[in-house]
Subunit: 64 residues, 2 copies
Amino acid sequence: MERRMDQQLSMEEQQLLVDLLFTQQYAIELISAELADIECGYKQVDAQRYKQLIGLYDRVRAFG
Amino acid sequence: MERRMDQQLSMEEQQLLVDLLFTQQYAIELISAELADIECGYKQVDAQRYKQLIGLYDRVRAFG
């Protein structure tokens, strides 16, 4: 199975992408889009993944 | 100086965000938005950062 793109990125490249998410103020929208896909039934994820997403959403939202 | 949000995230949280970027197919748009801000003069960055962004854009674009 071909490795996913995110798994092929260096740590530095991944951190640059995360930095861009906050520089472009898009982190909360990205997480919300994923949660909406799950809650509308477009996407199935296990309970642990859903819990991680909710936790990350709350962390980023609390940061303001 | 208060630490930025991205610096407060755990490695696991950062990897989840990067995974979401590719799951939601938004990585290339995010990098393009930052490059547009720089090229239109809305944002100043040093040459090294600009070079990193161009390199990352080419890597993600080539991945398709």
